[in-house]
Structure formats: structure tokens, C-alpha cells
């Protein structure tokens, strides 16, 4: 079969990224321009600033990605773009850019869901084999999903309140750590000890998650320690929090493995860049004797390579979009 090259575009939050992906699994070239430093000054992503920067930079990102490969637009079979979910203004810039490329080069347009992108990032490591169990952990997601085939998502459990990535950000803010907080908690946790007694989320055998109790417990803990004039041992809080938060993911995933008799597990989403999480899941995979796939850290945070991977099965099914499609800020994948 002829090789398929997809030009993929991702601009749903604060990264402008474009990739050339071969056959849905090989990263031929990727450029990621992050706005992280700009938003760090404001303590979080400012949507209007993000949209402006995407528009200012996107043609330069295109030039950069093609400077890394001999592949040219002539070799490209389709244009893929993230259309949901994310910051609306940011999604729209990527979408308009993609539509314009589709018009100029007469290539089909493929709309891709951002979370499908995170899941399909695993194809960059090892081609996904179905059925498999997927754990999606990000700023907006904490879900256990059984996939029987491409784009067949059976949600076994999801968060009843806060997503795990959201709680990481909140805890980081309470501890006065810079944005984005997740990596800082991960870094501090290594230096600390699990000394604080925190409540375990949901002590039951359902596959749903709940993190709001843990979040409130940390906020109250830090507040009370400050009131009493006690020293806030950030390292120990980070370690205690992370231990409880990740152990809960492990416990529920283990339950799901047993309930579904799964042999393969993939982890997807921004929080899968967390080192403690990665180590713990490797241990779990050994214990349970299952095949584990976690994308390399560079593919865990937002990037266009994953969008190209997720577009490939849609390309094979001729699932193309017209040039009048809209972006959607809150569309759920499952």
C-alpha cells in the first residue's frame, strides 16, 4: 500500500504545533512552539493572548516543520486539525489555517478530537492492538476507557467532579508554585516524604473517580498550617498528595483490568508525563503481566504528531470534513 502522509495542526491551548506523520505512526517532522513562558507571567493561560500568538506564529511554524524534512506539500495526502475541545479562539486559528491549506493545496480536511489525539499518541510508540484499556488523564479528563476497535470508546469510569490535572494545578497554586504546576509537584515530591495524612478518594469498587475531596483537604491543610504559623513543607505535601492521587489511579485501573480481563493498557493525556505516575504504572504492568504503553514525555503534552496519528484511521475511512466546519470548545469524545 502507498504511504500516507498527513499534515497535522494542533492549537487548542497554548502550543502551536504542526507535524508531518507517515502512516499514522511515524513522526517525520514536528514543530511545537510553546507560549508557556508568556502565560507563566499571568499565572495561567490567558485565552485572548493565546489566540493572538497562534495567529502571529502559525505560518512560521509551518515553514519550520517543512525545513526539517524532504517531504513537501505535494507528498501530503490530507490536512488534519484539532477542532475540539479547547480554548475556542485558539482552536479557530488552527481550524482556519487548516481550511486555507486544504483550499490552496486541494487536500482533504480531517477534523480530529484532541483527546483522540492523546490516545492515538500511543501509536508513535507501538501500534495499538485492540481490545485495550486506556486511562486518560489530563486537565479535563480522568477516564478509564475500553477500546474494542479504532474510535470505539466504551467509558468504564470517569471523574465525578474534578479532573486529576485540574487538581494538580490547584494544589500547585496553593503551594505558590509557578504555572504550569504539575511538573513542579512531580519534582518536589521526589524530595519529600509521604508524611501528611490525606483522605483516600472514594473507598469503593466502582470505576469512577473523585478528586474534589482530596483537593479540599490540601487547601484546608495549607490554610490551617498557615493559620497556626507552622512551616509548610511543600515537598512533603507534594509527595503526600501525589501518592494518594496516583495510587487511586492505580487502584481503579487494576480493578478495571480485572473486570475486563484486559491484556493491554495505554495511558494518555498531559498528566501521563508525570514521572511518579509512569513508574507506578510500570510496576502495575509487571505485577499484572500486561502490556503497557505510555507515550514519550514529548508526546504527552500537546503536540500535532498525535493529531496526525488520530487522523489516520479517519483518513482510511474517508471521513473528511467540508470547509465550513466549526470548532467546539467543550465537545466530549465519549
Amino acid at each position: 500500500m502507498k504511504d500516507v502522509y498527513i499534515l497535522a495542526i494542533e492549537s487548542s491551548c497554548d502550543e502551536t504545533s504542526i507535524s508531518v506523520i507517515k502512516n499514522g505512526c511515524i513522526d517525520v517532522a514536528t514543530t511545537i512552539l510553546t507560549q508557556m513562558d508568556t502565560h507563566a507571567e499571568f499565572g495561567g493561560v490567558v485565552p485572548e493572548v493565546a489566540s493572538r500568538m497562534h495567529s502571529e506564529n502559525i505560518t512560521m511554524v509551518l515553514e519550520d516543520v517543512f525545513s526539517k524534512t524532504d517531504i513537501t506539500m505535494d507528498n501530503i495526502d490530507a490536512i488534519a486539525v484539532t477542532y475540539a475541545p479547547g480554548l475556542l479562539g485558539s482552536l479557530l486559528v488552527g481550524l482556519e489555517f487548516a481550511k486555507t491549506l486544504s483550499l490552496v493545496y486541494n487536500k482533504p480536511l480531517i477534523k480530529v478530537h484532541h483527546i483522540a489525539g492523546h490516545i492515538y499518541a500511543n501509536n508513535l510508540v507501538d501500534k495499538m492492538e485492540f481490545p485495550l484499556l486506556a486511562l486518560v488523564v489530563s486537565g479535563g479528563h480522568t477516564e478509564l476507557v475500553l477500546m474494542e476497535d479504532d474510535y470505539k470508546f466504551n467509558v468504564l469510569g470517569s471523574t465525578l467532579d474534578d479532573a486529576i490535572g485540574e487538581v494538580y494545578d490547584k494544589v500547585a497554586r496553593v503551594l505558590d508554585l509557578p504555572y504550569p504546576g504539575g511538573p513542579h509537584i512531580d519534582r518536589l515530591a521526589v524530595l519529600g516524604k509521604d508524611t501528611y495524612d490525606l483522605p483516600k478518594p472514594m473507598d469503593n469498587d466502582e470505576l469512577d473517580f473523585s478528586y474534589s475531596g482530596l483537593k479540599s483537604a490540601i487547601i484546608n491543610l495549607v490554610h490551617n498550617e498557615k493559620q497556626r504559623g507552622n512551616e509548610i513543607r511543600k515537598e512533603d505535601i507534594a509527595c503526600s498528595f501525589q501518592t494518594v492521587a496516583v495510587d487511586e489511579l492505580i487502584r481503579k485501573t487494576k480493578l478495571a483490568i480485572h473486570k475486563t480481563n484486559s491484556k493491554r493498557l495505554i495511558i494518555a493525556g498531559g498528566v501521563s508525563a508525570n514521572k511518579y505516575l509512569r513508574n507506578e504504572f510500570e510496576k502495575l504492568a509487571d505485577e499484572e503481566n500486561i502490556k503497557l504503553s505510555i507515550p514519550p514525555i514529548k508526546y504527552c503534552t500537546d503536540n500535532a504528531a498525535m493529531i496526525g496519528c488520530a487522523a489516520y484511521p479517519l483518513y482510511l475511512k474517508n471521513e473528511f470534513s467540508s470547509l465550513d466546519i466549526n470548532a467546539e470548545s467543550t465537545l466530549a469524545l465519549f
Binding site: V46, E48, G89, L92, E96, K99, T100, L103, D324
Partner: protein
């Protein structure tokens, strides 16, 4: 010489085609569902209606604001992407100047309203001498103080805009930027 004109700074998506500076076609649509559903399809349509393709274009004139932040950003993104990929010349013109081109008075004020105030452009002897955003009460005071004819309703004269653009410099596609003027509310006071 085929020129594509793009304006998306307000609730309309206006796409025009000019041949050697003469208007040959115009699409003017109200964007109810958002500009993004209309811009690229309208460009495709206007070219098709005239038995042309994007590859026949020689240059682009895009209105870069001020006005709706999202509107101008999307028009600009499409325009700069066309200019970059087709390797053709692109010029930007402010919404205020584009309106002014269509009005013969030498001295005048052009206003563009938004929910909280006005973008104001002041022209003396056809030259833009002031371009600002003012909250409603300050805007009214400004207009009173200046005592010049005020225009906010308009119909674009594409040929006048084209002639005005002859005196403007082309911008490298990567450097094409929106003209926002107004500060971002979320960052107010920072």
C-alpha cells in the same frame, strides 16, 4: 492582476475580487454562526463563480482591525496563510481607513462601536491623525470636542480601497498582524 479583498472586522464577512483595480465580484454575508464557517467557503465560492482558482490571485488586501478580536484574527490568519503558501503580496488596511476611503469629506471622524465604547479614527485632509479606543462616555466627549462630521454607517468602495492601498507597503506574510488597539480586559490593570 487579480486582487482578493478580505474584511471580517465586524459582523460581516466581506470577500471581494478586483481585476486591475476594478471590482468584479463581491460576497457580503452576515456571520450568524461565526466568521469561521464563512471565510474560506466564501473565498472558494467567489473564485469558482468567476471561473478562477486561488492560484490566479496576485495579491491580497486584508482589513486587520480594529474591531471584533476573533473576527479580525480569523480574517488575518486566512489572508496571511494564502499569501505565504501562494507566495503573493499582502497589504493590510485598518477598518477605519477602509471606511474612510469610501467617504469623500477631507476632514472627518470614523467610529466603530463595540459593546462598551468606540474605536475612533480622526482624519484631517484625508490623513489619519488619531486612532484610539474610548469608553462610551469619553468617546462622546471626544466627538463633541472635535466637532467634525462623524461616519459609522458605510458601504465599502473596493476600488477606492484598492487605490488607497497602492500607497501602502506590502507586509511579509509571517509579519501580518491584527490591529487590536483595545487592551485585553483580562489583563486590565496588570
Amino acid at each position: 492582476m487579480l486582487t482578493l479583498f478580505i474584511s471580517t472586522y465586524n459582523e460581516y464577512v466581506i470577500i471581494g475580487l478586483l481585476k486591475d483595480g476594478k471590482e468584479i465580484s463581491l460576497i457580503n454575508r452576515t456571520s450568524l454562526k461565526g466568521h469561521n464557517t464563512l471565510i474560506v467557503p466564501s473565498i472558494e465560492e467567489i473564485l469558482k463563480n468567476n471561473h478562477l482558482t486561488v492560484h490566479d490571485l496576485n495579491n491580497i488586501i486584508v482589513v486587520n482591525g480594529p474591531g471584533s478580536f476573533t473576527g479580525i484574527r480569523l480574517g488575518i490568519t486566512v489572508a496571511k496563510t494564502l499569501a505565504y503558501t501562494l507566495n503573493i503580496s499582502i497589504k493590510t488596511i485598518s477598518s477605519i481607513e477602509a471606511i474612510a476611503c469610501s467617504i469623500s469629506d477631507k476632514d472627518k471622524i470614523i467610529t466603530i462601536n463595540d459593546s462598551k465604547g468606540k474605536y475612533i479614527g480622526k482624519f484631517i485632509n484625508h490623513e489619519l491623525v488619531d486612532l484610539i479606543y474610548l469608553k462610551e462616555t469619553e468617546a462622546i466627549k471626544y466627538l463633541d470636542d472635535n466637532n467634525l462630521p462623524i461616519f459609522s454607517e458605510f458601504k465599502f468602495d473596493l476600488e477606492a480601497i484598492y487605490n488607497y492601498s497602492l500607497n501602502l507597503q506590502s507586509v511579509p506574510a509571517h509579519a501580518v498582524k491584527a490591529l487590536y488597539i483595545k487592551e485585553i480586559e483580562a489583563l486590565h490593570g496588570r
